[in-house]
Symmetry: C2
Subunit: 223 residues, 2 copies
């Protein structure tokens, strides 16, 4: 394959917007690989030197994208968050109430199953929870945001009469997230998909147990 040769100064130096696009594409490629490495060895083990070697890039080149190890770690957390939102976001298109709550829990498990090393945030939280600083804070905020989103979904289902009025949305969200975490942790440790199936069954049963009794004239239970 030959590269078409260009003539004229307009192509000899890429225009500023082309350079921006190329820079963003390179940055994305670096972060995608960094996320895989962090998933298998941990976020703290991820250094600019190790990443440069893995990508066949110069350390100086990587420093141009990320000024420090901490900047790199923060960028990886943000990349994981984008990944997570892309995987779990479509669940928000489900109808409000029980369907959306069930879809969110399923999407979390699917994301954890598909990710190298399992749920990035579960691993990073375990790695950084004893530390202080911006990486720990950003990881904690991401987990907090997920728990808040799950709490809202439970509360919506309760408000719509799909779940019993007496339930405590934060308590139920905690329980559902714990079952997600348990499925993720056991699957990563024992490599047995049955643990993810156990989590999925437990989540379905826990939500079923919190269902409001059906009333005459109430909307049909979503399947």
């Amino acid at each position: 394959v030959s590269t078409p040769r260009t003539t004229g100064s307009a192509r000899s130096a890429p225009r500023a917007d082309q350079r921006l696009v190329q820079g963003a594409a390179t940055r994305h490629r670096i972060l995608a690989r960094a996320l895989v490495l962090a998933g298998s060895e941990g976020l703290e083990a991820l250094t600019i030197g190790k990443l440069a070697e893995d990508l066949g890039m110069s350390k100086a080149g990587l420093f141009g994208h990320f000024g420090s190890k901490e900047d790199l770690q923060l960028a990886v957390v943000d990349e994981a968050r984008r990944d997570f939102v892309a995987s779990v976001g479509p669940a928000l298109l489900e109808p409000e109430g029980l369907p959306r709550l069930l879809a969110l829990c399923s999407a979390w498990l699917a994301w954890a199953r598909a990710s190298e090393g399992g749920c990035f945030f579960a691993s990073a939280a375990s790695e950084f929870d004893g530390r202080s600083g911006p990486v720990r804070d950003r990881v904690a905020q991401s987990v907090r945001d997920w728990l808040d989103g799950l709490t809202s979904a439970v509360d919506d289902a309760r408000r719509l009469g799909h779940l019993e009025a007496s339930i405590d949305p934060r308590q139920l969200a905690f329980e559902l997230h714990s079952l997600e975490l348990g499925g993720n942790a056991c699957y990563q440790l024992f490599r047995d998909r049955e643990d993810l199936a156990r989590a999925e069954r437990a989540i379905a049963a826990r939500i079923e147990a919190a269902r409001a009794p059906e009333k005459a004239g109430a909307p049909r239970r979503p399947k």
Copy 2:
């Protein structure tokens, strides 16, 4: 305080059994400190050099106790296991069935709350689940043993008629352990004891939901 001076060769060189006791005491002191360091920074960050510096010992002296970093890591896993058994073991003195199952779950949460960095095995599992080798295997075996013990406790409670005959002991043990893990993970990340209380309430409610209906003449429910 003056050290009593001894005369005679019998005290000038410690007898072999004294040396053994001293060696074991030193080893125990080293491992107790290693466990605290591993709890806050992770098991992989624990090196013989770092531990020697922390204890004010020579690296050569520590190498006399542990021949390699991996030997040290394995010894720390064993120490954590002894710690765990000492904390959770008394729950096995509770009467078989529901009282023992509830006591085991409470003891796990108390151990996680009291441990620097939370449950050592949850952290070590997250750290080592993507690796291979004897440290990973020993951590995985410890978690497996706990899950098996919990499964037996559930099965005993079922056999004694305290829990419904239809429950799947391994599924219920998975759910109880997930709630333990969720309480531990959220407490470590957010430093809010309410997350441990949420886990405790969820475990009690989950077991309550699995209770067998009382029959006339059946033994009274344990409180």
